[in-house]
Every structure is written in structure tokens, then in C-alpha cells.
């Protein structure tokens, strides 16, 4: 059934909170969990639930995503019919409008030309294993025009400040989308997932463009809520919303929790990404690794604790790494110490150097 649905990956650009990590890439291309990019989760979840036509709206920093997606082969999207479509902004858009309604409007042919009857939109900065088959069944059973997905959170006071919150009535009908300012601990996190009938999608895009009232699709949904049957689906699993360095760091560290790890990786389908053919990781005689997630291709001679190591990381003798995230190809030489730190790709920490960040507020190199 989900074959009749187009998958759309689209995001709101919030890149500035990531400093050096996102200088050249969008947030959804941040490396995650030792060998993935954030976007792999949304993409793989769509594939695993049978969506075969997927459009990626890239935003303006397109180099890394083009390289990563290629022809879509790692996700089985290199098909003669359907498969992957990549929509970078037009050159002029950068100066004009990069908001999603405008992007959908300029690619209307893609939607009109497809035989699919439904459109599923998701934000790749939000990681989860939402059972899309179930969402789709709910959408059909309830006869909705639009179904939006949310998660009830109880830590709204500390985290998720400025995140979108979904306001619904007692029957779960859509009321509005607001912003969580942290006044209440319990709130409904809008997961930026929208399942919608294609004709309704097109109507909203056209109305949004014609009236000039809306620049974001979610605003348009709220504005036209009385014209359509909009309901909501509550997701009860684990969600990671990557909104800044802190949430990025925490999301990685959460993977050391077995339940979260199992939910994100082992249940509800495989997460797919581009393979780099590394050999297995080698642990030397004096290595001491505890409670860590290690990708392939690493050579470990020193000590590693509570950390995430991406592919091809080298830890020298008597070096110590703790509470840190080391991206691909990072090299920690002998006797160096690294604590509470995020190390960018291919960074080398020379012999005997100490880099120590503050707990809960990692230092980024």
C-alpha cells in the first residue's frame, strides 16, 4: 500500500547552532552512531516500510549530500522506475525563497507526474523508528486528509525549548502548531512527519503560493485546518531531535543504552548507509575499551570509555579517550588525553596533548 505513497525528505535550516560541524554541510548530513549520517535513518525507515519513490530536498549546502546519496544504490533506490530524486534549490532561490512551500511549488511536476496518491513528508533531523505502515493504516482507517505524527514528551522544561509542539483536541484532531517555551514539562513534540493525500498536498501548495500567506508547509496546514480532516498519530518509541551540539552529543551517547540502541538499529528494519569496505577493528594487547560503540576499520592501542568511535579511528598507546565522539579517521597519538570532546573527521591529536571539555557541554575540534 505504501507503494502508493511518495516519500519527501525536507528540513528547516537550523545549521547555525552547530558551529564548525556544519560549516560545509547541512545538519542532516552530520555523522551519527559511528558510521551513519542522520538522513540515513529517515531514508532507511521509508525504504523498510515500502516507499520506493523518494524525493530529497537538499537545501543549499549540497556537496556532501550529493556525494552521499549518489544514485541511491545503498538504499536500493537505483531503480529504472521510481527510485530517488534529488532536488537542490535553483541557483536564484538562495537569494529568494528557500522555504519548503516554494521548493514544492517549483517541483510540482514531480508530484503531479507521479501515480502515487499520497505524500509522506519527514524531517531528517529527527531520528526515530516510527512504524510508517501503522501510521498509513491509521490514516486510511480514519479517513483523514492529513495525519501528523507527534510524541508526548515529559522533559519540555529542560530540553526541546523552541521545538514545535503539536496542539490537538481531546479526540486527537489537529488544532495548531506552536512553539515549546518550556512552561510545562509535558508537551506534544511535533515530529515533522506529515502523511497527506496528494491532491490535498497540491491544493495547499497552490493556495499557499497564490495568497502569499505561508512560506512553510506546516503553517499552511494550520491555516487551512478547517478545510480538511486533520488528525494525529501518537508515536511511543524513542525520538532524537538533533537541534544543536548538545542534543547531537546526547543522541550519540544515548546509543550506549542497550534499549535505545536495539530500538534504533535492530527493530523495525536495517538502517542502510554507504559502505566503505573497512576491515574489522583491531584491539591491541594493551587496549582497554569499556562501554563504547566502535565502528569498523579502527586500530585501538589505548583506553576508550563511554565513547563513540567512527570508522578508521586510531588510538595510540597509553592514550585515553573518555565521553567523546571521534569522527572518521581521527588519530589520537600516544599519551594524548581526550575527554568530553567531539573530534571532527581526520583530526589528529598529537602526542601528549590533552583536550578536555566540560561535562555536558562538549568541546568541538
Amino acid at each position: 500500500m505504501l507503494e502508493e505513497c511518495l516519500g519527501v525528505i525536507s528540513f528547516e535550516d537550523i545549521g547555525n547552532e552547530f558551529g564548525v560541524l556544519c560549516r560545509n554541510k547541512p545538519v542532516y548530513m552530520l555523522p551519527f552512531a559511528g558510521r551513519y549520517r542522520l538522513v540515513d535513518f529517515t531514508l532507511s525507515n521509508m525504504i523498510n516500510h515500502g516507499l520506493h519513490t523518494i524525493a530529497v530536498f537538499t537545501g543549499s549546502k549540497i556537496r556532501s549530500i550529493l556525494n552521499h546519496l549518489g544514485d541511491g544504490k545503498p538504499w536500493d533506490l537505483n531503480r529504472k522506475t521510481r527510485g530517488l530524486s534529488i532536488f537542490p534549490p535553483l541557483f536564484d532561490d538562495v537569494k529568494r525563497r528557500s522555504c519548503d512551500i516554494y521548493q514544492y511549488h517549483t517541483t510540482e511536476e514531480f508530484f503531479v507526474g507521479s501515480k502515487a496518491k499520497y505524500v509522506f513528508i519527514a524531517n531528517p533531523n529527527i531520528l526515530s523508528k516510527v512504524n510508517l505502515t501503522e501510521v498509513f493504516e491509521y490514516f486510511l482507517d480514519t479517513g483523514a486528509d492529513i495525519t501528523v505524527v507527534y510524541k508526548k514528551q515529559n522533559n519540555g522544561k529542560d530540553e526541546y525549548i523552541n521545538a514545535d509542539t503539536l496542539i490537538i483536541d481531546d479526540s486527537g484532531r489537529f488544532v495548531n502548531i506552536g512553539i515549546n517555551l518550556g512552561s510545562k514539562p509535558v508537551f506534544n513534540l511535533f515530529m515533522h512527519m506529515i502523511l497527506i493525500k496528494k491532491e490535498v498536498f497540491l491544493e495547499i501548495i497552490r493556495a499557499g503560493m497564490e495568497t502569499g500567506e505561508n512560506i512553510y508547509f506546516k503553517q499552511a496546514v494550520a491555516n487551512y485546518k478547517n478545510m480538511y480532516n486533520i488528525n494525529s498519530y501518537e508515536f511511543k518509541g524513542h525520538v532524537e531531535y538533533i537541534r544543536g551540539i548538545k542534543s547531537y552529543y546526547n543522541a550519540n551517547m544515548n546509543l550506549l543504552n542497550k534499549e535505545i540502541f536495539n530500538e534504533l538499529f535492530l527493530e523495525g528494519g536495517t538502517v542502510l548507509t554507504r559502505s566503505e569496505d573497512e576491515p574489522s577493528t583491531f584491539y591491541d594487547t594493551k587496549s582497554r575499551v569499556r562501554n563504547s560503540l566502535i565502528a569498523n576499520g579502527c586500530i585501538i592501542e589505548g583506553r576508550v570509555e563511554n565513547s563513540i568511535l567512527f570508522r578508521e579511528v586510531k588510538i595510540g598507546k597509553d592514550a585515553e579517550v573518555k565521553n567523546s565522539i571521534l569522527m572518521q579517521g581521527a588519530v589520537i597519538k600516544e599519551n594524548a588525553v581526550l575527554i568530553n570532546t567531539i573530534l571532527e573527521k581526520y583530526v589528529t591529536v598529537e602526542e601528549g596533548i590533552n583536550i578536555i571539555g566540560i561535562e555536558g557541554n562538549p568541546y568541538t575540534v
Binding site: T270, V271, K286, V289, N291, L293, I294, A295
Partner: protein, 386 residues
């Protein structure tokens, strides 16, 4: 230097490898897993692609399902090409009858039309039984420089082991003067690696001649190469320097895996300029637990290690539970070593669940035990555990 239609590689992958016992019960020897994430054939296929070989035929026969699934259209080794690329060549029917491949030479003989259709000038014959890294371009260059009809890749083996190999006796220019198959009193220690390069027109002539000889076993080492030498062809030995291991027996298979844990073995898997490629399984990173100890070991993606692992090779998705100790062992994909079990020098087959609190192989310190679901066999004598 290698033009894609100039050299055609033929990879002999039809053997059973019966001395590998349980490991080849269900699959062909080239498909046996090796080194944490590979299969034996990956080394030869990766050598071929890294050497710029554009055409490779894979001769399959014995239980080919897993092997075929692994190879596919060869895209993992970049062999999915518009021109050339990889072809799987099983035995086939001609008219009303067909034959199995009855020997290494016969396998090539039956595919003469395939090689002809590619307009080959040279044919490189490879086998999928060895762990090594070799640039076949060097062999070809030597072959061309010597203006040879046949060039055989050789490796110097220790004198005391020379009796196990096909030994080549050569003159001062490395021109082959005699074949000495498994000699009792070797006069040389240059062993044939089972890698040959032939001028195709000459090989074709001798394959046809050999096929007419009813007493021939249609084997390169036993029949075709000696016949070519007797008839005065220019045959040279090229000396390979580097790591090379035949993994034909359980012991040599185990040793070759252990060699990967030795930095000085000469086989470096981490060399980016000569990557060994394989089909990927899309697994998440490995998790090393709070109280685990991992030393001198290779651990692959998807593993969960909560116990202790020493001097071992652990394949994808395997689990070593808390309190379990694995020493000098090879753990295949998705095997589970339960709490408190101690393994010494074991090979645990795929998907096997080893029960908790067992001590396996302690009493056979020198032997290697093969563990599959429900049973343990100690090297040669079979011993069943309840």
C-alpha cells in the same frame, strides 16, 4: 598496461575443499568466511580488481548457491561493467549432453568459446583457495619481458615444507627446467602458487590436445604444464614476495586467521591502496560492554562483547556474553557465546549458540575444535558433546 580485453582472468572456484570438513559442508570452499568479514574468494577478487583486470570468469561447480549470492554481478568488486566485467561460468549442456568440470584444465577447456569471444591475448588462471595480496600486473609485465609462453607465480617456502608443494626447478634466468610435484628430496624451494599466465593461442592448443588424451586427469599441475614443458615451450617462474597462505585444512585456516592478529605477518588489511572488498551486511557498529576485555583481536560490525576476548577473530553480529572467555578462537556470524563459557582454540560456526558455563577444548590444548549447533568435533576424531 592491462587493457580490459587483453587479459582474461579465469578464477577456479568449483572445488569442495573437503579437508575443511564442516566449514564446507554446505558451501564451496571459496565461500568460506575468513578474517572477520570476508570470504576466501574476496582476496582473489580484490586482487583482480585492484590489478585493473577488466574481464573475469568464475568457474563454479560445488554447492554454488551462497557463492553465487555473494558474488552477484560483482558490483562489490567494481566488476559491474558496461564492457567486460564478471561472469559466473558453471558447467553447461552442449546439444544433448554436457559434462561436469573434471579438472582444472578441463574447466578452462569447456569455456574456450567464452575466452575466444573476448578476443583474449593472455589468460590469467587463478584459484580461490589462498589468502594473499598480489598485483597481477607485475606478473604480466614479467611474462611480457621474458617473451614467455607461460609464467607461473612462485613463492619461496621453507625447505622443510617444500615436500608438500609443487616445486619448480629453474635455471639461472628462472626459466623452468623441471616440475617436481611434492618431491621427497626437493632440490629447490620455489613452490607453484597455482597462478599462471598463458598466451591464449598456445594454451588453447594444449587444452585441446590434453582433452584428447584419455589418460589425462585434465589438471594444470599434473598434465597440461608438464606436457607444455616437454614440448619445449618457454616457461618462466616469477617470484612473489609477500604473505601467502593456502587455507586448505582446518589448521592452516585457523593459522591464517590468527596471522591477521600479528602486525608482522605481512598481510595488512588496513592498506587503503589495496583494499579487500566484500559484500556488506549493513550492520551497526560493535558494542563493547562495561566490564569487557578485548585484546589482540579483530571484532566486526554488529557484535556485542560483554565478556573477555583474547587472540580471536569475531565475525559480524556475534555475541560474547558477560563472564564468557574466548581465547584463540574464530567466532562466525551471529554465534552467541553464553555466560560463563570458556572457549579455547575453537571455531564456532554461524548462528551457533554455545550453552552457558561450558569449558570447551581445554583438554585438547593443541587441537582445534569445531563447534556447530548441538555438537563439537575435535579436529579429526569426532567427539560428540551431550
Amino acid at each position: 598496461m592491462i587493457k580490459s580485453n587483453n587479459v582474461v582472468a579465469m578464477l577456479l572456484a568449483g572445488g569442495q575443499g573437503s579437508r575443511l570438513k564442516l566449514l564446507t559442508q554446505e558451501i564451496a570452499k571459496p565461500a568460506v568466511c575468513f578474517g572477520g568479514k570476508y570470504r576466501i574468494i574476496d582476496f582473489t577478487l580484490s586482487n583482480a580488481t585492484n590489478s585493473g583486470i577488466g574481464n573475469i570468469g568464475i568457474l563454479t561447480q560445488y554447492k554454488p548457491f551462497e557463492l553465487n549470492a555473494h558474488i552477484g554481478i560483482g558490483e562489490c568488486w567494481d566488476f559491474d561493467r558496461i564492457t567486460g566485467g564478471l561472469r559466473i561460468l558453471p558447467p553447461f549442456m552442449r546439444g544433448t549432453k554436457g559434462d561436469w568440470y573434471t579438472g582444472t584444465a578441463n574447466a578452462i577447456y569447456q569455456n574456450i568459446e567464452y575466452i575466444d569471444s573476448l578476443d583474449a591475448k593472455y589468460v590469467l588462471v587463478l584459484s580461490a583457495d589462498h589468502i594473499y595480496k598480489m598485483d597481477y600486473r607485475k606478473l604480466l609485465k614479467y611474462h611480457m619481458e621474458k617473451d614467455a609462453d607461460v609464467t607461473i607465480a612462485t613463492i619461496e617456502v621453507p625447505w622443510r615444507e617444500a615436500y608438500k608443494f609443487g616445486i619448480l626447478n629453474v635455471d639461472s634466468d628462472n626459466k623452468i627446467v623441471e616440475f617436481d610435484e611434492k618431491p621427497k628430496n626437493p632440490r629447490n624451494n620455489m613452490a607453484s602458487m597455482g597462478i599462471y599466465i598463458f598466451n591464449w593461442d598456445i594454451l588453447k592448443y594444449y587444452l585441446k590436445k590434453d582433452d584428447k588424451n584419455r589418460r589425462s586427469e585434465h589438471d594444470f599441475g599434473k598434465n597440461v604444464l608438464p606436457m607444455m614443458l616437454n614440448e619445449g615451450n618457454k616457461m618462466y617462474a616469477w617470484v612473489f614476495k609477500g604473505y601467502w597462505k593456502d587455507v586448505g585444512t582446518i589448521r592452516s585456516y585457523w593459522e591464517a586467521n590468527m596471522d591477521l592478529l600479528d602486525k608482522n605477518s605481512g598481510l595488512n588489511l588496513y592498506d587503503k591502496d589495496w583494499r579487500i572488498y566484500t559484500r556488506t551486511k549493513h550492520l551497526p557498529p560493535q558494542y563493547i560492554g562495561k566490564n569487557s576485555v578485548v585484546r589482540d583481536s579483530l571484532i566486526n560490525e554488529g557484535c556485542t562483547i560483554e565478556g573477555e576476548v583474547n587472540n580471536s577473530v569475531v565475525f559480524s553480529g556475534a555475541t560474547v556474553e558477560e563472564g564468557a572467555v574466548v581465547n584463540g578462537s574464530i567466532i562466525f556470524s551471529n554465534a552467541v557465546i553464553k555466560k560463563g563459557t570458556v572457549l579455547n582454540k575453537a571455531i564456532v560456526l554461524e548462528n551457533t549458540i554455545v550453552q552457558p558455563n561450558k569449558r570447551i577444548c581445554k583438554e585438547y590444548e593443541d587441537d582445534i575444535c569445531l563447534i556447530e549447533q548441538g555438537s563439537v568435533s575435535i579436529e579429526q576424531e569426532e567427539a560428540l558433546y551431550a
